[in-house]
């Protein structure tokens, strides 16, 4: 059952304020991921403070890197159920967990950060993992 919107609103805002586009419907997801070329970071947001409390700041840190995906989008697990299910349909064999992050290039997952790779790790460590993936898979330089 979804949490009250008033509770999750700050968590949604934390993502949009760092530049992520929130996808709240199946149509939103298909528009963003359905025929996308280039690179897209998908952040599966969560209310769980055990892991998401470090994951959101990690994404914020990673998005200050010099090489970035062309788009950053987010869906909210447990809240926007249909949108999340649709987003996960683009993740192939990767199993659902939240929070989690998928880096897609030309529609294929090229890097995935599972919940178990977030739990107990600092935002700095998670961000370092992400930026390493950006360096490997993305070519969009900030300011270019």
């Amino acid at each position: 059952m979804p949490y009250p919107e008033s509770l999750v609103a700050p968590m949604r805002a934390e993502m949009t304020q760092m530049g992520a586009t929130e996808l709240r419907t199946v149509a939103d997801v298909d528009a963003a991921l359905g025929s996308s070329t280039g690179t897209t970071l998908v952040f599966v947001n969560s209310v769980c403070g055990c892991a998401a409390g470090n994951a959101r700041p990690a994404v914020q840190m990673a998005l200050r890197h010099g090489v970035l995906p062309e788009r950053t989008v987010t869906v909210f697990a447990g809240q926007d159920l249909d949108a999340v299910a649709r987003a996960r349909s683009y993740f192939g064999e990767y199993q659902p967990s939240s929070p989690s992050m998928a880096l897609l290039r030309d529609g294929e997952v090229v890097h995935f950060v599972h919940r178990h790779q977030i739990e107990g790790r600092s935002p700095q460590t998670i961000a370092a993992d992400l930026t390493k993936a950006f360096d490997t898979h993305c070519s969009h330089s900030v300011g270019a």
Binding site: N54, P96, G120
Partner: protein, 93 residues
Amino acid sequence: MSGHVFHPGHHELHGITVVLETERALWVGRFDSVTPKGVLLHDAGAYEDGVTPGTREEYLQKTLKFGVRATAKNVIIPEGEVRGMRQLAEAAG
């Protein structure tokens, strides 16, 4: 809101994805608590000796790469059957 935790006062592994080994199976799931009936895991998958293809190690490596293929929303493993438990992340070496 960053760092906010909704579950104060819980076991230190609460919310952590763990690998729990028994004599006949290896469970991977999100630790909740130790209840009077045993260890409660959420969204858990299992490797069962003699049933699941491959080895426990192969199952673990696939889980590390692709995540937990959950077959049970909630499962309780009796404490007496638990041979060991560790964080899944530790299995990555």
